[in-house]
């Protein structure tokens, strides 16, 4: 039958933001458990789709990022409980619970202030995907994607790292999906747009699992056929280096491409000295010589 697809495998890397300052965690103690349950169910949902599917989960907060689940955890140790759950799923569930507990207990004492360093965790994910690609048997194909699940605030301080991650993902055909629980994340939106992933801000936290299963479980090739939330308009305006404000028109250093919102005589990035500002309209004219 034509509807039966080929056996491509797909690798899903979930970046799970566990920063304790997220509102969803501070507001309700039990909310975090709900999110965790959703992550576990979603992970197993992914493994359920195809027998060859692979999974990795990276936990991330402001102090550290670490693997919650990776290929090392694939050796299934029977749980001893036989309640009808597929052994692998039971094992995955147990592993995630155990490792996340470990990860959280390490953090509790000396957590540095600051936001969750999601870009770095994505970088780790890309390294992992890279290795999985290398280890793939000859002739097999693998789709890989990263799902970022976060409730953190939007901030531009990791801009550079994010951009590097997005362009690498684009180059390596890794799709980046983002599910934010609370705030809109402009930067991550750009990442989704660049790599062709889905972006969703969950309208309500109650049905998190439903949203995950609906938008993020289908693999990118299948998504084309489904009716999903329309892509959001991405704000591609630049943030200036001096005040980190979004600007429409700015000045760009010809040496290092740093962006400034006002003319300044010296570039703060590469220390180049600039000549007189010159009337702005005259500059572009020079760039367009009449032949």
């Amino acid at each position: 039958m034509a509807v039966y697809g080929g056996a491509e495998r797909s690798l899903l890397v979930i970046i799970f933001d566990v920063h304790p300052c997220q509102k969803i965690i501070t507001n309700h103690q039990h909310r975090f458990h709900q999110v965790l349950e959703a992550v576990i169910a979603f992970s197993n949902g992914h493994l359920l789709m195809k027998p060859d599917n692979r999974l990795a989960i990276i936990g991330c907060h402001s102090g550290a990022s670490d693997y919650i689940f990776s290929d090392k955890d694939y050796a299934v140790v029977p749980t001893g409980i036989n309640d009808g759950q597929y052994e692998l799923f039971a094992h995955v569930e147990k592993c995630i619970r155990k490792n996340i507990k470990q990860f959280l207990s390490k953090m509790s004492n000396n957590l540095p202030a600051g936001e969750s360093l999601l870009a770095g965790a994505c970088g780790m994910g890309l390294c992992y995907i890279q290795r999985m690609k290398r280890e793939l048997p000859i002739g097999d194909k693998m789709n890989s994607r990263i799902l970022v699940l976060t409730g953190s605030n939007d901030s531009a301080s990791q801009y550079m790292n994010y951009m590097n991650v997005f362009f690498t993902a684009q180059k390596e055909n890794v799709v980046m999906d983002v599910c934010t629980l609370e705030h809109d994340q402009g930067l991550l939106q750009q990442g989704c747009d660049i790599t062709g992933g889905a972006y969703l801000k969950t309208p309500q936290q109650q049905g998190l699992l439903q949203y995950l299963m609906w938008v993020f479980l289908p693999e990118p090739p299948l998504r084309k056929k489904l009716v999903l939330p329309p892509p959001v308009k991405v704000d591609y305006r630049a943030a200036c280096f001096c005040h980190r404000q979004l600007i429409d028109i700015g000045y760009v250093c010809s040496i290092c491409l740093s962006i400034f919102c006002k003319f300044s005589p010296i570039c703060t990035t590469c220390h180049a000295l600039f000549k007189t500002p010159g009337p702005p309209p005259s500059k572009p004219k020079k760039k367009k010589p009449k032949m």
Binding site: A119, N161, Y236, Y251, C256, A272, K283
Partner: protein
């Protein structure tokens, strides 16, 4: 690199090299490991050379002069020099515009003792390649003799009008060993030098003194290809932005616009014609999407573009961001002996270190340890150290260098 060209001897003039001694057999008498190590070392060496120039020539304006003479029919590059060049050019143009987002390219062909400009400088690689294919890719495209001087003069006449902050470059792909010139080419070379145009040349046949002096005088690179792989390698060295020499170009702040999508989200989205297709044959379509120039509100369907109405350069922020890694590269990692007890696995991909690896790579900034594959991947592609970027103290912020 260009400076020591005078003193560099040809390889056959240097002392006797015992190349085979670099290769050692391992216990089983295999060479593979040794060869792999040499390759790795070479790769890492190339990486080390590339670190940390904060002053790079990012706004490049480059004319590529292609030899379209009889000599290009030679079959020493498969299938012919012409087709091999065309194929590699396709890759190069794309890579060039990817690595140098605000740069512009143009093509000049030289055949029948003349030079003709087939494309003006622009940043649209699809259009460039289309024109190149129809002008250079045909079986009858290459004929007669090339004229290096005419081609250089033609490039010079366009490039000298470029703004002073722009890096001006000429890249010549030369198949022929001769050139048919109307006057003294040395004068042209001097003119190029005074206009601070950097000329590089890739020869497809043999080392020619004139070509070499052209490159040396203007500060470009000269190379002669060994085979198609080497050709590709030589080309790719030109894709990375060159270091900006202070005397060559004066820096400037260029005013640019960062357009957003046309406002389709509010219900009163209005239709508009895009400016980029106005003069093309199929004409411009009327629709709601696209990008609006923040200065004059004219619409464009893709970025980057130069506003035809008010002349503002329009780019998107990710476009600029694509080249930031040249400015803030990841520092090379240091080789350290493997210590399986302290660090059992790679920080990036979590691969288990095996004793066979012998050496692993450590980032000096965040002290995390990586495997060779991740080391390569981080420096070549990712340009962000996962260790540093997951550490509150070391992650790279926008203002880290200020």
């Amino acid at each position: 690199m260009a400076d020591d060209d005078d003193v560099k001897e040809y390889r056959w003039e240097t002392g006797y090299e015992k190349t085979w001694e670099a290769i050692q057999e391992d216990d089983q008498g295999n060479l593979e490991a040794s060869v792999a190590e040499i390759i790795q070392r070479a790769k890492r060496k190339a990486q080390m050379e590339r670190k940390g120039h904060t002053r790079l020539g990012m706004m490049r304006h480059m004319y590529i002069i292609l030899d379209a003479s009889e000599a290009m029919h030679d079959q020493d590059l498969k299938p012919t020099r012409q087709l091999c060049t065309l194929k590699l050019m396709e890759g190069f143009v794309e890579e060039f515009l990817y690595e140098n987002p605000l740069s512009q390219l143009g093509f000049i062909l030289s055949r029948n003792k003349r030079a003709e400009k087939i494309t003006e400088l622009s940043g649209n690689y699809k259009k460039q390649l289309e024109v190149l294919k129809s002008n250079f890719g045909q079986p009858n495209s290459c004929s007669g003799e090339p004229s290096l001087q005419n081609a250089l003069e033609l490039a010079l006449s366009s490039l000298k009008h470029m703004p002073s902050h722009a890096i001006r470059e000429v890249l010549v792909i030369m198949g022929s060993l001769t050139t048919c010139d109307p006057g003294d080419i040395n004068i042209t070379i001097q003119k190029l030098k005074t206009a601070s145009i950097r000329a590089s040349l890739i020869g497809l046949s043999a080392d020619v003194r004139l070509c070499k002096s052209l490159c040396m005088t203007t500060g470009g690179d000269y190379g002669v290809v060994l085979d198609d792989v080497h050709f590709k390698h030589l080309l790719s060295t030109h894709a990375l932005p060159p270091q900006a020499a202070a005397e060559h170009s004066s820096s400037a702040l260029v005013k640019m616009g960062f357009p957003h999508h046309a406002p389709t989200d509010n219900k009163t989205s209005y239709l508009a014609m895009c400016m980029c297709h106005l003069d093309s044959e199929e004409g411009s379509k009327l629709d709601g999407g696209g990008y609006l120039c923040p200065q004059c509100r004219s619409k464009y369907c893709e970025l980057p573009a130069e506003c035809k109405v008010c002349g503002l350069t329009l780019v998107s922020a990710p476009h600029l961001a694509r080249s930031y890694h040249h400015l803030f590269p990841v520092q090379p990692f240091t080789l350290i002996p493997i210590d399986q007890n302290r660090t059992p696995s790679c920080f990036g991909c979590r691969v288990q270190f095996k004793t066979i690896d012998k050496q692993v790579y450590k980032c000096e900034k965040c002290c995390e340890v990586f495997c060779l594959d991740c080391d390569m991947f981080i420096h070549d592609t990712l340009h962000t150290c996962p260790g540093c970027s997951t550490n509150q103290q070391t992650y790279q912020t926008l203002s880290s260098e200020s």
